[in-house]
Symmetry: C2
Subunit: 378 residues, 2 copies
Amino acid sequence: MSFKFSVHTQDSITSARTGELTLPHGTVKTPVFMPVGTLGTVKATSPEELENIGFDIILGNTYHLYLRPGDELIKKAGGLHSFINWDRNMLTDSGGFQVMSLQQFRKITEEGIGFQSHIDGSSHFFSPERVMEIEHNLGADIIMVLDECAPHPCTKEYAKESADMSLRWAERCNIKHEQLGGEQSIFGIVQGSIFDDLREENAKELISIDFPGYAIGGLAVGENKEDMLRIVNLMDRVLPKEKPRYLMGVGTPLDLLENIERGVDMFDCVMPTRHARNGQAFTRDGRLTVRNGKYKEDFRPIQDDCNCYACRNFSRAYIRHLINVKEILGVRLTTLHNLTFYNTLIKEIREAINSGVFSQYKSNFIERYTRSDDVQYI
Amino acid sequence: MSFKFSVHTQDSITSARTGELTLPHGTVKTPVFMPVGTLGTVKATSPEELENIGFDIILGNTYHLYLRPGDELIKKAGGLHSFINWDRNMLTDSGGFQVMSLQQFRKITEEGIGFQSHIDGSSHFFSPERVMEIEHNLGADIIMVLDECAPHPCTKEYAKESADMSLRWAERCNIKHEQLGGEQSIFGIVQGSIFDDLREENAKELISIDFPGYAIGGLAVGENKEDMLRIVNLMDRVLPKEKPRYLMGVGTPLDLLENIERGVDMFDCVMPTRHARNGQAFTRDGRLTVRNGKYKEDFRPIQDDCNCYACRNFSRAYIRHLINVKEILGVRLTTLHNLTFYNTLIKEIREAINSGVFSQYKSNFIERYTRSDDVQYI
């Protein structure tokens, strides 16, 4: 295992902190936002563009890559890094979250999850051990344990049984992972829905397995924002300070700020890329629906002070036109902008923490982000 | 008018020649292949990528840009170059070809073409004078006269009436263009279907108007290849040697070679970009259907000696995967490759002409391109 995490600066007022992850494909400054490359590509971008924006780690989705093109093929290609030509770090999820969303087409037992492919209905089975084999074939720098992401809402009884089983799966994953060897690191995932005692119990058991990092799973699945923040606060108290915390599937710019304040180091979310494909661009003044008629003759860039390829070269009017006529360049430019926005935000947050002005940065950002009537701020 | 054309090297055996066009946005070496940017973007590419490949001139389609986003908007943006952020040369067609393809939804009279938008069915009218206004609003470096592209097959009587009317439209376009002034140059378009005497008569009349360049229109519309090549041979004898000849909407790599041999200097075609979107890549060994199962574990680049971003960084297996799962990067990479292939081909042809070895280059290229059983060579 090639893994190191060190905290650089701890904010004096909040739990926010900066740090550095050392992984097989280089170092990653935290807090970090990781773009999602579901099928071996961060949608609409090239690896060169992601490097130019400054990302040091991206995600791959095990469920999707297992189905297409298949982990065996990727192994033959020399692993995911080589297959997709990305020589910085990668993280793969376990596929558990995707399989859970298949609803009628999966069956969960202690042994694992049986499911039917959303592509062709073919039958498959993910046990913790099988998922480890797949994630080892993919070869990401950080891999995640197989877990059950309990639906929201669910009863406390369901949540407890589910979290307990996820814990046993985490143990099985860890054993299999160690047998398989290699340079990859494995993170545990805390479950327990929105129930504080279940979360605390689950986290403590996971900690006793001694993973190099811990994810907070099962959030951003429809619960209230207050529940999310309370659970993250709790995790901040329970999880070891010297290990990285990863809040899975989160979130909006405001989510990033709130959860960094609560001690989270790592995030991933499809929001910047998905919103781009829907013609929505993030700006310091909120989220702008580029295809709206009011931007028809707006020859300003999406955001004045943005240094991305889209903002340096193209107007809202042009990007709006491209999106309206469904030209690929429209999605490309909006995606580049949104990813640049997220990476700039997280970079500025790191600088604010290092300079001891995180809380001030946060309130300034939110004040401007939520002020305009013209845009959405979620 | 800012326009100069000079022939550099005339092949001693064939009519092939190299030359240089001087236009408001720089010089263009001929023979030249111009990628098609229908709606203000060469599909799936950025202007930066087109510059990096080495294109010095691209097309825009007047019909499409007139409808969306509208030529008035583009004029407000400072013209098409500014709107799409392309500071090299552009050429706009007249919209005649697109309007003709609307079939039931257009009516041609001496005055011009009435038609209904393919977007919303709204009614519009393109007279020669109106088209000049639109092309002046767009502001391309070379603009084309409005013509009727006669359908194939058509009677000789229809072809004559149509070509005669196109000639009168060309005169009206030229007058309006001179009234409007500016730095743009206007090309005439020879019509006359596949009838030699009509073509010759039409060309001679156009020449008497004295355009700075001449296009050969109404080909690549379903006629036999022999008819196309015979008409182009005829045009080579009739059109003035000291002016550029532009064969509109052509074509395959072999079409380029055959028609350069017959004295053509300029080409445009959607083939490299459209085939890319269908998962087809051009190689020196023919056209390769990347999504085919046989490339599933083929970790070679699309073409070994290609210097494009796709071939330098990615395998057939990865690009096949991207195309199969409909990821935008798949289309992007295949488009970059195909455009690089076309630009490399035409650059090599220029070098061969300059070195006096065009015929040898042509036969070597065709021999290899059509040899493999594995691919298509059309």
